[in-house]
Symmetry: D2
Subunit: 289 residues, 4 copies
């Protein structure tokens, strides 16, 4: 574990950089100041980069647009790899027909539309269509009535033996400088505990997220895991997952992990990043590239 002053020296060592989104590129306040310089440097040096995010609430196109609106045009939809994409792949491969019930917004559901499947919010499941429900997806914490629809979800899962996908493993996410919100991953764990069944989770730290990104690169060029670095602000997801997949990892201190307790948390959890860096900003001050 090495402390690094300038994130630039990390980029210089690798061919491909995977970035977590929240806490690394943006926060609830908008873009991390100076992060545009990082992407300019990546473009200038012809390095590849991907955003690897547990956010399943929107499609890659919508996620990219949110960066564009903030002024970061370097992030195009083909650079975004979300846990929602793994959910869609699962449905394509494993669920042939019938209804996919979901908890989340219409936006999140639109994205997982898969040929042959009928996507319906849990609120619209009733005695007439219950038998056709062949999968249930936890997509987002918004877009449904928590009390009514979670109670309905519990009862659907007591009556139907079907795969249940959790498209976002996070239990909470920051909403302002002082507040967090309960994420769909936390809600899903409560339901899983109550119905006693085993759900399928997509999202970091699970290897399948990294594999999906790794495969996308290998589709058009050879690459070794040694040439990829994962940059994240959370030990339990970004760093643990990256390490396990065999990647070098950078913990940045611009999000979940605060500068003054990074070392204590690393010691307590035993999750050790390859590098620690204040943030993912390339400091280009005065130098040409």
């Amino acid at each position: 574990m090495k402390r690094i002053e300038n994130f630039k020296s990390i980029i210089d060592k690798y061919e491909v950089v995977f970035f977590d989104a929240f806490g690394v590129i943006k926060t609830y306040q908008g873009l991390v100041p100076g992060i545009e310089d990082t992407f300019a440097y990546l473009e200038a040096t012809k390095k590849e980069y991907y955003i690897v995010t547990n956010d399943a609430s929107r499609s890659p196109v919508q996620l990219a647009e949110s960066y564009h609106r903030a002024g970061l045009t370097a992030i195009t939809p083909d650079r975004v790899i979300s846990s929602g994409m793994l959910t869609k792949e699962y449905l394509d491969l494993k669920v042939d027909d019938g209804i996919v019930a979901y908890l989340g917004t219409e936006d999140s559901a639109h994205y997982i539309d898969s040929s042959g499947l009928h996507t319906l919010p849990v609120s619209q499941i009733n005695i007439t269509n219950l038998d056709k429900v062949n999968a249930l997806i936890f997509l987002d914490d918004e877009g449904f009535d928590w009390c009514d629809d979670l109670n309905k979800t519990v009862n659907i899962l007591r009556k139907r033996t079907i795969p249940v996908i959790v498209a976002n493993t996070d239990h909470a996410y920051p909403r302002s400088v002082s507040d967090v919100a309960i994420a769909i991953g936390g809600i899903a764990s409560m339901v899983e505990n109550i119905v006693g069944k085993q759900f399928i989770r997509f999202g970091k730290p699970d290897s399948q997220m990294f594999m999906f990104a790794y495969d996308m690169i290998r589709n058009y060029r050879p690459i070794s895991k040694k040439e990829i670095v994962m940059v994240g602000d959370t030990l339990q997801t970004d760093i643990l997952g990256g390490n396990k997949f065999g990647l070098d990892t950078v913990l940045v201190l611009s999000g979940n992990t605060l500068p003054n307790d990074a070392e204590a948390r690393i010691t307590a959890t035993g999750i050790v990043p390859t590098y620690i860096c204040d943030n993912a900003v390339v400091k280009t001050g005065g130098f040409d590239f």
Copy 2:
């Protein structure tokens, strides 16, 4: 473990009978048919009995009234011991002043009113009174907005280091012949997991419930644990808790545990009742007492 045909033979062996409420005396359909005969027999033979319940949604007076409305007048408020009573004892002993924030109905909150404390629903906590919140109670799954108030609860607990009481340990409860509902104990576990703090739980199988009942009896007469039997329909709460406290236990098959999988569940969990009985109904057919 002995199968018993007539619950009467169990009553005959003990001085005091503890009953769970739901699944033993009543179900979502009303009183268990014939249960009046059991209480008539208890009165006739001058045996003592108590209702030991995880239901913290109403006071003993209100719980007793609900039996009276159903036609069972033998259950008076002084016979009812609920996890809510332990919550109230905790507040009396351990919280001296300030606000007690709660999730639940007004009825449930009214009951825990303790001198010197101001009881307020979580929805009414804000930046002006946050500093005065000295305890937070999970009372009931009704009476609040799940999305708004659970998110608010998480943030209160991130800002205030205060005791959190879960007044009902159940994770789900039956609502109709085919459906269950998520109980406040399940919701509390989700919040506990997210904030990473340790909550205090009152309710079976915890010994403190049984101790509370045991103490009530000893206030006016000597009694040995050998002379008390606990009757319940749930292995993980009634039977485990009764066994651990040192009581003999009866599993009845009129609620949570179904006749055709009682033995499989006992073997799977290792929780062994002293007796198994179809229900807690005394069959008095043709005999005088």
Copy 3:
């Protein structure tokens, strides 16, 4: 939560003091320096005191002797309340005949001998006596072959549906200034997880420990919970358990909880003692009593 300079001022406020043993009265290095003054002050002021310990490896007589050898004669066997005593009470009340198999030393087993029961180490259970095993007890981490006897324990519990008692809930205990040892509570959790059955645990933070002590006092005098204070070095056992039972609590910093992270741990766990004190030593400097 108040910081207290001199433990004496705490004693002055209560009628009865409960002490945890390890980390409060003694450490792996012997008695806490000056602790004799505390017991001299308790005797002088005619306050009652009890040692409430999760140590089930020896009987109260043997535990008291270990204090005498160290020079602390004030602790007599009737002052010692251990989780082993709850185990013995359970066997007396709930197991009528047959074999009680155990993991632990002969010393620890001798203590739980109960009339009508035959106590045998797990190593002596075989095909000829397996059917007579009516309970299994995890007593101590010493006195048995971990590999052979834990594998045998797993297979006994797959074949016999019997109560399993864990007489010490601790998962580890300190053995020197730098090292800890795995405790029987940690081993029991592994076995419980593998066999999928539910074990019965005695020991702090469970209320039954406190109730046992509380009942001992009430046998000869009336006492209110308000008049008892629990002194311990561990938030998760001593303080959580004392709080839940309704007692005031003192966290001392002479054991598990170190002075420089006491506040961080209290905030992280949400377990709040009534007082914090460097140690349980009464400073009597220059004053007569």
Copy 4:
């Protein structure tokens, strides 16, 4: 979920078959009777097959030899994919120098030897070489003293912040018709719980096992997940892992899951195989191939 009479009809539908080892190809009694016919049929029809096993106690060469000794020569080392191989890949990618301490047999350790690393049993770690320990691996339940070496492991991990690999996720494994043994995965969970750090686990149901096998095939030919089927006897590892990776799955009833409770377990866990088949034996009776 379809019941299939003859495993042959499953092979006919796929290009590649992944087999779990224990409970599918062999049991504690030796090869599953008739399983040779399955591999003869696979060879005759030029289908590919791999053994995907959580057994990290021996190298692929040694595992293949054990099949040869039993008379099944079709399984060559290049067909065996074990969780030990993922452990070796991790060490190659992520640990550059120093000592790798391990719990297991010398055989299991020999296999993970990685250039630049010094592999030493935990029993040989002491104050002179502790600082050079850069990883610790749980390999096998044999080859070490459980009491001494597990206590030593706990203390190594309290002093060194290093990655810990669990090379076998199983908590128990069958050893005879009536007995099981505690597996290294169960032991590792106890240690993880005591030290409070997060270990890295390789083995089904984790996707990385399936990805490793999938990548091996893609090295020399294109293949879609739709063309691969996973055959296993355990819902929680083989079937859950296969499903999540996007493969079709076959539950066979020759091992962990018994014919008379397969459906109950599927309903209870919510883990649904694509097919159920008595065993993985191709019945070729009277037909030529």
